[in-house]
């Protein structure tokens, strides 16, 4: 624009603001900071911020803002040119213990011991794909638009796969994850989570667990593929630096290894998820989801018990309080899926259609919720607070995956939206 600007940032975002300014080419940008938060403060409290001092510089805040716009630039502030941010040497040499500590101290781990990525181990990993080590797999950023994306090679993905404890057989799956550029550590003050549904014969080839404990720490493939995604999200794009490129206020334990959900295709009454998306049953596919947390579904009202539990009614009651910013992903034990089949839901589409029509909220409720929006357009003109509207206007907000070991007819539900699907076979 060529117009002088004075950004004002609340202090909770100090590190983010300073590093982002540097990464975007203005390392000396004149940023003023205010106390945090601004939201929820009275007019008098906010005016008091202006009359007070910048909590970082200690200077009178508005005087500093005026100064930002009027004090002549220094020679450094007027500089142009390019620079490449350093990422460290290509290799590190030390004892095993010192290397573990080095990786941990430099933010390259999930704070748990890693498998050290020697050239031998990385070479073994690389044998599991036909792709060349220096081929670019993709680009990733902790938040689109906020940080410039980094690119990464097949070898760099292999290094992270080794660190996660993955075996070479898992590598094409991990490469497919990397190819999407989706970070598992999205930078938002919401502590968001990521999930991937795995479909196709690869689930059995890798001996993935889609039975008892499928989403828990009970299987090497499930665990290390998910962990590799987290480590990639830290290392391949400069992400996961708390306070700088990760701002989740509380964090989420799911981020350690994400929700890896191999579908229990053989015990499901319905076609698998990837077939719904147009893939062939024999294709190996990953389908990605993203959003708020996951929770248990056993508390839904209207379930009843006899003669057949009304799973659909309970599922509807369970998602009604969800924020409509994201959709609903139901993870159904096969007992629930087959029960729903007995209730007449012969396809996932029928179930989604029923839920979309029967899951409703009032306009008043929506207005009182965060991250939920009201309908727009002509149909919204006549709405009052007491109007009853669909929770989600689109049926594709509802998604289902069958997973679990049939010890009881339970389900879990995640306030998450579908993003995209990719083929693992492209990376074998």
């Amino acid at each position: 624009m060529g117009i002088p600007a004075a950004p004002m940032v609340t202090i909770a975002f100090k590190d983010l603001a300073l590093t982002n300014a540097a990464k975007r080419g203005m390392p000396l940008q004149r940023i003023s900071f205010t106390p945090h938060p601004v939201w929820g403060k009275t007019d008098e409290q906010m005016y008091a911020y202006l009359d007070g001092n910048d909590p970082v510089s200690g200077k009178p805040l508005m005087k500093e803002v005026v100064d930002s716009l009027t004090r002549p630039l220094t020679a450094d502030e007027s500089k142009s040119g390019t620079s490449t941010p350093p990422v460290g040497a290509p290799t590190f040499t030390d004892t095993a213990d010192n290397l573990q500590q080095y990786f941990l101290d430099n933010g390259m781990t999930d704070f748990m011991p890693i498998t050290l990525p020697t050239q031998e181990k990385v070479d073994a990993m690389l044998k599991a794909t036909k792709r060349k080590p220096d081929e670019i797999v993709g680009k990733m950023t902790p938040a689109q638009g906020a940080f410039p994306p980094w690119s990464y090679t097949v070898q760099q993905v292999a290094v992270n796969a080794v660190m996660a404890g993955a075996i070479p057989d898992y590598f094409p799956t991990i490469l497919a994850i990397g190819s999407t550029g989706i970070s598992a550590l999205f930078s938002s003050t919401n502590s968001l989570v990521s999930a991937v549904i795995v479909n196709g014969p690869i689930r059995d080839k890798l001996q993935m667990n889609y039975g008892i404990g499928a989403m828990g720490p009970f299987n090497q493939a499930n665990a290390t593929i998910g962990r590799a995604w987290t480590l990639m999200s830290k290392n391949l794009d400069g992400g996961g630096i708390a306070g700088e490129t990760y701002m989740g206020s509380q964090g989420n334990v799911i981020n350690y290894s994400n929700l890896i959900i191999p579908e229990n295709e053989k015990d499901s009454p319905w076609p698998p998820f990837h077939v719904q998306k147009g893939f062939k049953p024999e294709e190996n596919v990953l389908s990605f989801f993203f959003g708020f947390n996951i929770t248990q579904g056993q508390g839904g009202k209207g379930l009843g018990v006899k003669p057949i539990p009304l799973y659909n009614v309970a599922m509807s009651a369970n998602v009604a309080p969800f924020a409509s910013l994201f959709g609903a992903l139901f993870i159904l034990d096969p007992l629930v899926a087959n029960g729903l089949g007995d209730l007449g839901f012969k396809t996932k589409e029928q179930l989604a259609d029923w839920l979309q029509k029967n899951t409703t909220v009032t306009v008043k409720d929506v207005k009182s919720m965060l991250f939920s929006g009201l309908p727009r357009g002509p149909e919204a003109a006549n709405l009052t607070d007491d109007s009853v509207i669909p929770k989600w206007p689109r049926v594709d907000a509802y998604n289902f995956v069958v997973c679990g070991g049939q010890t009881n007819p339970y389900h879990q539900l995640a306030n998450m939206s579908y993003r995209l699907s990719v083929k693992i076979d492209d990376w074998a």
């Binding site: 601004v38 929820g40 009027t70 630039l73 040499t93 030390d94 990733m140």
Partner: protein, 138 residues
């Protein structure tokens, strides 16, 4: 019959970690100690690869020239859309009325996400304003 490779290796008294293809590591484990000139065992060193990806080069952007004074200038107060930014910028407008009454302030909400450009707004500011104060965060 499905073969559980981990169980077979364990029954043979071998670590399932060998499934990682780390036969090189098994051999290296035999060489954990080397002798120094004084005969004292020293821990062997490993060389490992850097897991980081490749950031794009940064193009340094020179800052826009500053104004000699804000008197009689028009300052755009721009909200990035986060909660509270509009109310906070309103207080800034009040501050200018009280302390620098010759300054004209104009409030605008930037379109898109917090990191998105808003070309229409930026064109307006360039045409009609002389400075910007932007509220970021909540």
């Amino acid at each position: 019959m499905r073969i559980n490779r981990r169980n077979i290796l364990s029954l043979m008294g071998m670590s399932p970690a060998l499934l990682a293809g780390a036969t090189a590591e098994a051999e290296q484990a035999k060489k954990t100690k080397t002798k120094t000139a004084k005969g004292v065992a020293a821990e062997a060193k490993l060389t490992v690869l850097n897991p980081r990806g490749m950031p794009p080069p940064i193009t340094l952007i020179p800052m826009a020239p500053r104004l000699s004074t804000l008197d009689d200038k028009t300052i755009y107060l721009v909200s990035d859309g986060f909660p509270g930014a509009d109310a906070f910028l309103n207080q800034i407008s009040i501050w200018f009325k009280k302390n620098m009454p010759s300054v004209t302030t104009v409030y605008r909400l930037k379109a898109g996400g917090f990191a998105d450009d808003d070309p229409k707004l930026f064109a307006e500011i360039k045409a009609k304003g002389q400075a910007v104060i932007m509220a970021i965060g909540h």
